[in-house]
Subunit: 251 residues, 2 copies
DNA sequence: CGCGCTCCTTGACCCAGGTCAAAAAGCCCG
DNA sequence: CGGGCTTTTTGACCTGGGTCAAGGAGCGCG
């Protein structure tokens, strides 16, 4: 879940067999398990593809035939209830590997929230690759473990945190991710709408909006534009995210 | 997350190197990736251990030195906020493999809710085993993927379901697990208290109790004893769990 | 540069589920 | 088989965040 493209969308890459070499995602995805010498092996089984904003490329309940690796853009991953209620389980950015279900149907839907470039791997081809590069399997396991840790953190958020804490946690996580991508400023860029933030945090759009407004009134953040948030008090953010500010004197 | 011991706790097993051969967990855990011929290799690196009810064997934030495989009993896995709010992220039963963090500290706490028998693997020893048995690594990846799917389902529950739907989902899942373990009756046995159910479902104990009472009044379940629930209307359970009963006519 | 989107904010009101408090039901033991 | 636990149930009340309903503000486009 590391989306790192505040810069404008890159020009569509050459689709020559060598496309893996200069891939933006290579160094932050499982693909780095494959040495430069073997990159043509990887490129041979990876089909690049462009996904328009709003387009869906994985659908919950559909047969799981392919795996995807995002090389540009961001997707939202979500599950839905029969009456339309929606829970976004995560955002997938550059380097994110998708479709890791053992079951033969996808467990969630993936939809582009900005234009996406990705590599598609068919199940059998990935299998061959995994058999030939055991390190790739290890990297996939690592990735899955990291996602599991993130999922548990999100369960804590959804099950036990207040609206304030949820929004603060969201901002804190977004900022941490931006840092990882080399962006150390205190302004974060959000590729998602308020509705999507709400569906991710288990809140309504109104509550997200109200909470952000309150943070602004308290002087903790500012909202320079619709999709930018400036953190004016980073340490306040982390304490608020964990409820430490509310946790009164103990014993 | 499959706990399968309605029968009384088994007598402590012999701790001879052959203990893996007759292990209850063998056929439903990652250990089945290792052939019978190599079981002594597995037994050599696995240290059996007994955990008392209420005892903690993994602690959030502590250095992650060991992995565990549960062979009898059930544990609750949880995360806590500074002020004591608790979210149970799952229950780990027989065959469950724990400690799969890539990071060097545990991301959650694991506490026995009934007496537990488990096998402990030190990190380096498991590493050796993984290098020698690639199939084991594949099975671990599978396991991690399954847990990821379960975690996403739980996020949907915590973020978007009503109290009724949460409790119904919990009962439905428990029943499905019991079926997997060969128990096809309509009565499920719960090793956890109401408080633990509440901390798992992101509710309070009062709401869990009230909801169960209402289900009973509606004739959908009965509560023969404190830790047993009989499902009298299985199809109602599944529709209620997904909110299909509330989803009014569409279009 | 103003028209018509879509997205966001704000306000007024409401209710599911939380909180607080007490009674009831098990349940372990001697 | 009764006394002191713990756990669960039930009741009365309250509140955080949901719902419903208007505005307002960006922003692409002709």
């Amino acid at each position: 879940m590391n989306s790192c493209s505040p810069r404008p969308i890159v020009v569509v890459k050459s689709r020559l067999p060598s496309h893996c070499e200069e891939c933006d995602a290579r160094h932050r995805s499982v693909c780095n398990a494959i040495g430069t010498g073997d990159l043509d092996r990887l490129a041979a089984v990876a089909t690049p593809r462009h996904i328009e904003k709003g387009e869906t490329f994985i659908e919950e309940g559909q047969p799981a035939g392919d795996f995807f690796n995002i090389t540009a853009g961001t997707a939202k991953l979500y599950k839905m209830l029969p009456d339309g209620r929606q829970q976004i389980t995560g955002f997938a950015g550059v380097g994110h590997f998708l479709g890791l279900a053992v079951s033969d149907t996808y467990a969630f839907t993936a939809e582009a929230i900005e234009p996406i470039e990705l590599c598609r791997f068919s199940r059998p081809k990935l299998r061959t690759l995994l058999d030939d590069f055991p390190l790739l399997e290890k990297r996939l396991l690592e990735t899955a473990c990291n996602e599991l840790v993130a999922a548990q953190e999100q369960m804590l958020l959804l099950g036990r945190k207040t609206a304030r804490e949820r929004v603060a946690s969201f901002l804190a996580t977004r900022r941490a991710e931006a840092s990882l991508c080399g962006n150390h400023g205190s302004t974060i860029t959000l590729p998602m709408t308020r509705t999507e933030i709400a569906d991710y945090l288990g809140l309504t759009i109104e509550t997200v909006s109200r909470t952000l407004t309150k943070f602004k009134q308290e002087g903790k953040i500012s909202l320079p534009s619709r999709d930018e948030i400036t953190i004016k008090d980073p340490s306040w953010l982390t304490t608020t995210a964990t409820g430490e500010d509310t946790a009164s004197a103990f014993i």
